[in-house]
Amino acid sequence: MKFKGGYNIRLSNRPSSEVTVSPETNTLYLPLKSRRFHFSEVHVQEGDRVQPGSVVAVDPENFGVPLLAPRAGTVSLDAAEDHIVIRNVSGEPDVEIVLDEQDHAPETVHNGEMRQKLLRLGAWQFFADAHTGALPDPFGKPRGVIVSTVQFEPFIARGSVELARRMDQFARGLEHLQRMLDYQLINVVIPETESDLGGRLREKLKGYAAIKIVLVPLRYPFDNPALIARRVGLAYDPDQPVWAIPAAGVLAIDRALTLSKPSTVRLITLGGPGVESPCHVKTIPGYPLKKLISGHETAENVRILNGGALTGDLVGSDQLGLDTECRGLTFIPETKQRELLSFMRPGTRRATYSNCFLSSILPVIPLFNTCMGGERRACISCGFCEEVCPAGIMPHYIHKLLYRDALEEAEAARMDLCVGCGLCSYVCPSKIELRSQILDARRRFQIELAEEVQ
């Protein structure tokens, strides 16, 4: 499988490689919900004093993955809904954790103690199933492992910044991982460029026996773990998960297994056209969002996304602090302007995949906002969605099948291969919600399939 399709959206205000550290704060608001986790089982009580690395809550539906207190402080459970508030926060971020008697791994599991440590010290939550994105079983055996050092979606923390001066820790983390998996082959995804990260990583990992280097072109979404998995021959099998670990995850493995320290620091980005001085920020989960954003915002009406501009979640007004899975905040201006005869204008600053505006030939940075850009129309079979699709399917064809509810035929057209990158919806001139339609149809098909089996 070669890399086909894909497209880099030229979103402005790419976060610079400069890393600022968020100033100390007195209060932390730890959200109990993040993208994959719902830490419903709270393990502390009102007024408890916690230490850095203490488990304040667990997610019982996700193998008991814990929510760790990033700093010492006093717990308040009722101050904010769906948040654990920690007051009187004090410093001391670095604490070594010794596993006590109740933290036992199942005895039959190979290298169980290592895995238990990863779970308890907050390293396991970086792991994901390459195909489904779900959290894999910490005590299971993966069919394959993919470590990714790249991140192409605008804008999320980039691997090159994560690994900037931590190459040794990264290599150590990989060694731990290899040992834990009995030297099963680990695929490490590296950008194709010769300079900087790509070259240095290749140098560093040259001698390792069980590491396979996978080179990817610098185009979104070729960092997607499902696409990489298919490329290295690890197709989707619901019974045999493929593990996907970002660079931050390998660094967390190193922290946990070499130093027995919890990973409670996060590197995130503040980026996008709606924010001034976009940069990487070293911060902690629970950091108050208002404080993080203050002094950075530009336009008054800005949409804040937890994640990238294509697949990020909307940050609701009820979220007070950074959630534990956050990897970047993207700011996109909302617009309420209605332009006269907009479609006849030359369009020197409009972002487009086609060549239909002057911006295609002028060396300008296009202006982005959350405007749909047009009205919903019928599919005209322009073929742009098929051109950008990285999974090799034909979104327009599937759309027409779904229009008459032909779920089986859509399945035969391989709608299961969709990785949800969102490029088809981005590019469609008829403003059809292709991504939502395809993912929705997939869900309905699975439900129907399950019902038939019963």
């Binding site: 959206i9 979103l11 998995a229 197709a235 949409r303 501009a309 294509l310 697949t311 993207t330 996109i332 909302e334 617009t335 209605r338 332009e339 006269l340 005869l341 907009s342 479609f343 006849m344 369009g347 972002a351 487009t352 995949y353 086609s354 060549n355 239909c356 505006f357 982005f368 906002n369 959350t370 405007c371 749909m372 850009g373 047009g374 009205e375 129309r377 019928a378 599919c379 005209i380 079979s381 322009c382 073929g383 999974a391 090799g392 399917i393 034909m394 064809y397 035969a412 057209a413 391989r414 291969l417 969102g422 919806s425 981005y426 590019v427 001139p429 008829s430 403003k431 919600e433 991504r435």
Partner: protein, 361 residues
């Protein structure tokens, strides 16, 4: 401008829930024409491409502009009358269908309404233009479900109807091109100007054995359909469309290429039946058809490999119909043949694609 926006806003309730609810599509189309919508994204992804269908269609209109201007120059103001009738009649039918379906009016008609007069003889009675466009829009588009769902090119369906229904008028409505720097720009050619009427289109003459000067074909001062006479005007507009990716280059290259290759071979074999290649490329509506009509995305195959096959069918059919049948021009039928074959071509290409996808992930 603000006043205009406020006026629209003031009448909005009247057209959405009030007395004129049935005219909602017309109101929305007018409002949407003047002012861009500011709806923001609700589903992922949060940002979208700036291209929309209005822009897509207006670019096709821009691509047709050179051919239109040249047509005005050579054939006079009557062309404007034909365009007016085409938009008025076709537009009314579009609005009626949209009102009956309670859907929005699609922008596709901006293009169809302009292309249709450009493929007709300049002296065609205006009522025939109206009937033709009505047939084309109803049978060629609306009966199949509207823009994007049509099987045939609506302008060609209309023209085909006129060619078969009114063959005498269609073959006797050519006029001599205007001369001088302004040509017929300020002239309205009417039926009481018999000197202007001619039947000598280059292809008709070629059938009788005399070839018009190729420079006339290049610049356009020959008789012919309104928009097709000038090769340079069509090429300029067509290249704009191919550069902006509105028209697929494969179809253009495939049509002209297959036509040319077959023509070279056949002309060498039998020069009395087949005109010389470059001459044949410039004559008639081949260039116009290749750039503007064959490339219609809704009626051409969706797959890239399919597009080559489709283009080859059109190129080959055009040459054969032109040279070996009683018709002088074959592009119209060739494109319709291609339209018929397009879904089948796609089916085959899909089968190949799915077989490849089966071994994937």
């Amino acid at each position: 401008m603000k006043m205009l926006l406020e006026t629209f806003e003031r009448y909005r309730p009247l057209f959405t829930e009030g007395k004129f609810k049935t005219f909602k599509p017309l109101y929305e189309a007018t409002e949407g024409f003047f002012f861009s919508h500011n709806a923001t994204t609700a589903d992922l992804p949060h940002v979208r491409d700036a291209l929309d269908l209005k822009r897509f269609m207006i670019l096709v209109v821009a691509g047709l502009a050179p051919a239109l201007l040249v047509g005005l120059h050579f054939f006079g103001l009557r062309v404007l009358a034909m365009i007016a009738v085409s938009y008025a009649v076709g537009g009314t039918i579009e609005v009626l269908f949209a009102m009956a379906r309670r859907e929005e009016i699609n922008e596709g008609f901006l293009v169809t309404g302009l292309i249709f007069p450009l493929v007709l003889p300049p002296m065609l009675p205006l009522w025939m233009v109206g009937v033709g466009v009505a047939f084309g829009v109803i049978v060629g588009k609306e009966l199949f479900g509207g823009t994007g769902r049509n099987l045939f090119n609506p302008a060609l369906v209309g023209r085909c109807f006129l060619a078969i229904g009114y063959p005498a008028a269609m073959s006797a409505s050519w006029i001599k091109p205007g001369e001088g720097t302004t040509g017929r720009f300020f002239e309205y050619v009417s039926t009481n100007m018999p000197d202007a009427i001619t039947s000598a289109t280059p292809l008709a003459l070629a059938k009788q054995g005399s070839l018009a000067d190729i420079s006339h074909l290049f610049w356009g001062n020959t008789a012919g359909s309104v928009g097709e006479t000038s090769a340079i005007a069509v090429i300029l507009g067509g290249v704009l469309l191919v550069a902006t990716r509105v028209a697929n280059w494969r179809i253009v290259l495939g049509t002209l290429g297959s036509f040319a290759i077959l023509n070279v071979i056949l002309h060498a074999a039998s020069p009395e039946t087949f005109a010389p290649t470059v001459w044949n490329l410039f004559a008639g509506g081949l260039l116009f058809g290749a750039f503007f009509m064959a490339t219609d995305p809704a009626t051409s195959p969706v797959t890239n490999s399919g597009k080559w096959v489709y283009a080859a069918i059109i190129g080959v059919s055009t040459l054969l119909i032109r040279s070996m049948t009683g018709y002088v021009e074959g592009v119209m039928f060739a494109i319709l043949l291609g339209n018929i074959a397009a879904p089948l071509i796609d089916e085959v290409a899909f089968r190949v694609r799915f077989r490849r996808l089966k071994n994937e992930g």
